[in-house]
């Protein structure tokens, strides 16, 4: 908006900031109890637009706070580098839509693939649509064996309110949890 000299009468926020706030205020009753014995490991992709380009490390910390509350601190494995230093997954900038550049996009994504594989996590939480599409594709194409899930899926799972039709991106290990 600054580029076009627009002074809006409203604020711009990411829902990630609110998820963290709501959990801190006790309004979002998430719990990691479901994962106490299962010990399913999660990592997270820092969306460039959200972190590096908009709100910086504070929102990356909010993101981790939310995830740890949902899956258990001991079950979160950060990738390296992370937060503002994290690498782009290769789904941004129109790359997913750029006709004729699929091979290059997957080559670009190898960096992200290896970062995720090194964490050993079964799930990569992708709180951005382009990241979700790209990381999902990387796992399938390179047979990475990990799942790419939206953050809201994990929040609802950890509140025990995730419906049967809302589990498209969960693996068999979590398909039945809390149903």
């Amino acid at each position: 908006m600054r580029k076009f000299n627009i002074t809006p009468s409203f604020e711009v926020k990411s829902i990630i900031q609110l998820y963290a706030k709501w959990i801190r205020e006790g309004r979002l009753p998430v719990s990691s109890d479901w994962n106490k014995d299962l010990k399913v490991k999660f990592t997270v992709q820092d969306p460039c637009q959200l972190v590096r380009k908009s709100f910086g490390d504070p929102v990356a910390d909010d993101l981790r706070f939310v995830i740890k509350a949902c899956v258990g601190e001991e079950n979160f494995v950060d990738m390296y580098p992370n937060k503002s230093n994290n690498f782009c997954c290769g789904g941004g900038g129109g790359f997913l839509q750029a006709t004729g550049f699929q091979e290059q996009r997957r080559q670009y994504g190898k960096v992200k693939l290896n970062q995720i594989l090194e964490t050993g996590a079964q799930y990569c939480i992708t709180p951005c649509h382009n990241c979700h599409s790209q990381i999902h594709d990387l796992s399938e194409y390179y047979e990475g064996g990990f799942h790419a899930v939206h953050l809201w899926t994990i929040i609802c799972l950890s509140m025990g309110v995730l419906g049967e039709n809302e589990r498209e991106y969960l693996g068999d290990d979590l398909r039945e949890i809390g149903l």
Partner: protein
């Protein structure tokens, strides 16, 4: 035996691509401050693709190799993620140089998929890059909501408003959900319901995405942003809330 000497510098006064970009950017994007350290390239996932990397791109631009720089397919492989700027000790704005290199391509030669996504967004009231019209968006939302209310007793009172004036949050939604995986909207609604958030969707400017920016089409980008701002202001919402 000997080759002709390489001419350095330019005979004419015609400004190069990089000089033109420097005139547009605040502080000239610091484009002439490069120390050639390579911190940009060493942390760029696009390094090596199309035989290019950020440092090489900038150095070539500085040398006035305009054609080679602007026409490189690499400009569509850089995601403008800004990690190079973050790593750069001189805060050089290479992604903006890429932005203008993209812009130097005739619009019809820019990648069809990005162009199509931008054009769809321009054509629809909701700015949906997938071309979903707002009636369909509204229908899908209401249809999914009804099913959840009927089949999930805990959420028989689940609410979703559309175009509700005075709501605190104006929530946008990536077109992918209503178009290809509508059930993915439900967990989001449940979270908002649980905390009792005061939120609304809008039929105007509801789509979260904006590919006109990545197409480097300034005019279209501005049009989309203005339509969305107007939508939020019309409903008098305090916060434009992104789902990501």
């Amino acid at each position: 035996m000997s080759q002709n000497a390489l001419k350095i510098g330019r005979g004419d006064k015609k400004s190069t691509f990089m000089e033109k970009v420097m005139e547009i950017l605040p502080e000239g994007g610091n484009l002439n401050l490069c120390l050639t350290c390579g911190a940009c390239s060493s942390g760029c996932p696009a390094s090596g693709i199309e035989g290019m990397d950020p440092r090489k791109f900038l150095r070539m631009a500085a040398l006035g190799l305009d054609e080679e720089v602007t026409k490189s397919g690499w400009v569509w492989c850089c995601t403008q993620c800004r990690r190079c700027v973050h790593a750069c000790p001189m805060n050089i704005d290479i992604p903006r140089l890429v932005y203008y290199a993209r812009q130097s391509w005739p619009r019809e030669e820019r990648p069809k998929g990005i162009r199509g996504s931008c054009d769809m967004a321009l054509k629809t009231e909701g700015n949906s890059a997938m071309g979903a019209n707002s009636e369909d968006f509204k229908f899908v939302v209401e249809d999914v909501l009804e099913e959840v209310r009927e089949t999930q007793p805990k959420f028989k009172d689940l609410q979703v408003s559309i175009n509700r004036k005075g709501a605190k949050y104006f929530l946008n939604q990536n077109s992918r959900e209503p178009v290809t995986e509508p059930d993915e909207m439900v967990p989001l609604w449940k979270i908002l319901h649980t905390v009792g958030a005061d939120w609304t969707y809008s039929t105007q400017g509801w789509a979260a995405e904006n590919y006109c920016m990545f197409l480097s089409d300034d005019e279209a980008w501005e049009k989309i942003v203005r339509n969305k701002v107007e939508a939020v202001e019309k409903l008098g919402c305090k916060v434009w809330l992104n789902t990501e």
